[in-house]
Symmetry: C2
Subunit: 424 residues, 2 copies
């Protein structure tokens, strides 16, 4: 078969009939698989089996702290040390939270909405404020903005990160622009790693609004797939150097390191920001779950223990990514109807169909009981103007399941694309 763009309507019509026949067969014998989220698979969760049992009945003290009782707003010193070593920050810059870094991001925005940035004017009292959203990006970030009625401006990404010319221009000229979402390493869903220049330019922004903040979601900071984890510049250091010491909040978690639903998360920022955040936490909570932190400390021992675990995750995930590349290359590449990213880490492959096909492909897959991330979800307001991007999340299914899912996916891509060419 040749490229669809070079095929005749007759050829495409015949192909369409064949594909429809196969599609109907699969619909009767559906795959029943949910690939909508970046959920770790069971084999990945099993890597942390000992986390459940690693504490003995008498192990509840950490230094002089009884982890069972109240207190300790910013986390166990041992846990902070591990996170600081991984993220290359100082322990004083880190506040350890509960099991969800998303909650910490949400709370940071909620705090700025009602109380302003460092006691500045609350964002909620500044009219229509704006966040810059590099696209495609993470739907949960966009959902938080939408929830708080924060307007979103999509920013195109290039191979080095967000287009910094556009970012600089908007941030420096519009004081309604209060924030930008960044996933700086193995970005969701593109897998892009921010270049040194991007990080430096980000840290050196001259915002028109003095309450502008960078939301640096370092979700995949040690989540490589091949060889070693990419090294990017330290955003807090760069902000400090550029005279913007308080401009960035960094978020990270062990959701894809230990147990996705029962791990630990953190926010890191300047020491002065950390103190400010603690002044809110003092009102807000009796402190994080220190027993769970102690489990993580005991299980991982130190940053090296965490990094060793990440190699094991990579070994499990790598074949899944490789399989996708292999199947897409074999099944779809010859027809010239798509392109996709080949990330070195993270949890996703970002797939681009022909324009106007993504929604239909996801819908066709759903009819075969294969649930993908909603088309458009990777754009603010679900609005992918090209209707082209689909986020593929290969982590949860087994290799066998993934093989079946890819067969369905490729079938649906071919079918929808053929129909598009036939309609043209």
């Amino acid at each position: 078969m040749k490229k669809f763009s070079q095929a005749s309507k007759e050829e495409l019509g015949v192909l369409r009939e064949e594909l429809i026949a196969e599609f109907e067969k699969i619909k009767e014998n559906p795959v029943k698989l949910d690939m909508s989220r970046g959920k770790p698979g069971e084999d990945q969760l099993e890597l942390s089996e000992e986390l459940i049992t690693c504490l003995g009945p008498d192990e509840y003290m950490a230094g002089g702290i009884d982890c069972r009782n109240y207190g300790g707003l910013d986390g166990l010193p041992e846990m902070k040390k591990i996170l600081a070593d991984i993220l290359h920050f100082k322990p004083q810059q880190i506040i350890v939270g509960g099991n969800s870094s998303l909650s910490m991001m949400f709370d940071s925005i909620a705090s700025n909405m009602t109380h302003g940035v460092r006691q500045g004017k609350p964002w909620s009292k500044q009219g229509d404020i704006v966040f810059l959203c590099p696209v495609p990006g993470y739907d949960r970030h966009f959902a938080i903005c939408e929830y708080f009625h924060i307007k979103m401006i999509p920013i195109p990404m290039n191979e080095n990160g967000p287009d910094m010319d556009i970012v600089e221009n908007l941030v420096s000229t519009n004081d309604k622009v209060k924030g930008i979402w960044c996933v700086p390493k193995y970005s969701n869903p593109e897998g892009i790693v921010y270049s040194d220049e991007t990080v430096r330019r980000m840290a050196s922004l001259k915002p028109a609004a003095d309450d502008f903040r960078i939301y640096w979601d370092d979700a995949y900071t040690i989540h490589h797939l091949y060889g070693k984890t990419a090294c990017i510049l330290n955003i807090l250091d760069e902000c400090e150097k550029a005279g913007n010491p308080n401009m960035a909040y960094v978020f990270a978690s062990f959701s894809k390191v230990s147990f996705s639903g029962a791990s630990i998360s953190c926010i890191a920022s300047s020491e002065s920001n950390a103190e400010y955040i603690k002044s809110r936490l003092k009102i807000q909570t009796i402190g994080p779950d220190k027993i769970n932190q102690l489990r993580h400390v005991k299980f991982f021992k130190d940053a090296n223990g965490v990094l060793a675990q990440m190699d094991k995750h990579a070994a499990i995930l790598r074949p899944k990514f490789d399989l996708i590349h292999e199947v897409l290359r074999r099944e779809l590449a010859p027809y010239g109807i798509c392109r996709w990213t080949k990330p070195e880490g993270g949890y996703f492959i970002s797939f681009y169909s022909e324009k106007g096909c993504a929604k239909k492909i996801v819908e066709r897959c759903k009819q075969c009981a294969l649930t993908l991330t909603e088309a458009g979800a990777t754009y603010p307001y679900g609005n992918d103007t090209d209707d082209s991007n689909i986020r593929i999340a290969p982590s949860y299914p087994s290799l066998e399941e993934l093989k079946k899912a890819l067969h369905v996916f490729c079938l649906c891509v071919k079918l929808v694309s053929a129909e598009k060419y036939l309609d043209d």
Copy 2:
């Protein structure tokens, strides 16, 4: 020695000298004890020793749910069942949270501030809003209000709960009144149990504001000290009966059941409110820590398991409360310079000195390294107009330590009171 009110200045002067001498001696050999918070003692924490180890390496499934992975916004069905049985609600009315019910209260208020009650006008856009605060009450409730710039009106308590005449009048005539804080059972710090009439009148309020809400902090719902736990009317049922089905949010936790810093909490309300809360949680979090919930389910098994544990807590706490009553009766009662509550449950004794003495007593104790709850903390803005109330929290020290602490406390009460009478 006779009552201070009947003693001569000479008698009081002599006593004062004796007390000062003893005070100076103690200051040199201080007790070093923190009784400022209702922290469970070590012996209480040890009751839950097995919570740390009760799960085996293969125990992570609950029904069909993998507790290690993402998901399950409202908590494990088994955990909800236990909470529902304890609180006499339906599981569908309950959302299980993390380790801090305080966080859930904070978040509920934060949500109403920015998004309004059930999508009504945000509280933050309604000018100076007001919460009613039965006094003396819980300082952390007041701190949340202060943080959100919510004005607080103190409401006197009587033996049946808040003075409902005043509450009804304010709530029905002032649409700025948006909430009331209630600790309906063994209230903090009075130990008052709301009468059936109080609960009924609370549920039957006819608020001027349709976004008025009752914050029902059932922190001590099963925390009896003597015999059986008091039974109060079910606020959600009463609200439903009174035609106010969505008016109350109930909060509870296992902070003083299992591990104070590593337990579970919940919010309960009408099913329709619960659905609304979930719509926020969906944006806010990847779900609560289900592994910790599973530990609690395995450890307690069911509501009876929890209640049996509460009897053990009571057995540890009872002698501490008894000791306080005994010492205060012996050391202070004869002088007619104070009164105190004798609660049937909860974590505090509410002590009333002569007017104008509380701050000085707490300060004197501090000089002997005995830290009490700040005087005034039990009133909004720290403003105890009588300067009389002191919250005694006997749970954390051992009986031996408590004996020493009480000695210091009684000495300081006598000293400050004698000085007051000498100054009059």
